[in-house]
């Protein structure tokens, strides 16, 4: 049977809740299992990717370092909503890893390419 592609959509900011950390855990396992994974960052989810995070100061785990290691899990699809960045005072230069920045419309078409969608 053909393997299904999974889109993991990050909609929430890091550290305040554990959503981002557990979304990333799922992405890494999916990658390890050879599943095709797309990581999407929309709305507050774009804050996940901000560079120079020091969550240790808030007694939280610094999982943002893991984004740079995703290529070792064969995950190279990191798609970020341009409008969400703009409205939150961010640019691509503020992010910790290279990503693809897409308009809302392109992002939706990209999402439509996946078989299943889970959101965090």
């Amino acid at each position: 049977m053909q393997s299904k592609r999974i889109a993991i959509v990050n909609r929430t900011a890091p550290h305040g809740t554990s959503h981002g950390q557990e979304a990333l855990d799922m992405a890494m396992v999916a990658g390890t299992f050879g599943q095709e994974v797309g990581l999407f960052f929309i709305d507050d989810g774009v804050f996940q990717l901000v560079k120079d995070q020091h969550p240790e100061a808030a007694l939280r785990k610094n999982y943002s370092k893991t984004f740079a290691a995703l290529e070792f899990y064969d995950i190279d699809t990191l798609l970020v909503c341009q409008q969400s960045l703009l409205s939150r005072g961010l640019t691509e230069a503020d992010l910790c890893v290279p990503v693809e920045v897409l308009s809302s419309e392109s992002l939706r078409s990209a999402l439509a390419q996946f078989d299943h969608i889970v959101s965090f």
Partner: protein, 95 residues
């Protein structure tokens, strides 16, 4: 074609607006749990956009549970119909 499953009250977070800002014409929206309160949003900026959605459905059980009534024009569904809808659309995204 994505079926968007909205779960939270649009009066307390932005999920509905965020969904509406990205939705394609052929996508559908189902309001369940606290998202059914969206039907009370006549005064809100997002309301007209929501009403423009051609495939808008509201879970009857969750409306009834909350004492909220839907106008006749609103398509209310039960769980069996929700199951059928998830199959009519290609995939489901929960918000």
């Amino acid at each position: 074609m994505i079926l968007h499953l909205l779960r939270s009250s649009p009066f307390s977070d932005h999920s509905l607006s965020q969904c509406l800002s990205r939705i394609a014409k052929q996508d559908g929206i189902v309001l369940i749990q606290d998202a059914v309160y969206a039907l009370q949003g006549h005064q809100q900026a997002w309301y007209s956009l929501l009403m423009q959605c051609e495939q808008l459905y509201v879970l009857q059980d969750d409306l009834y549970a909350r004492g909220i009534k839907a106008a006749d024009a609103i398509c209310t569904i039960d769980y069996p119909q929700l199951v059928a809808l998830t199959l009519k659309f290609d995939k489901v995204m929960s918000w």
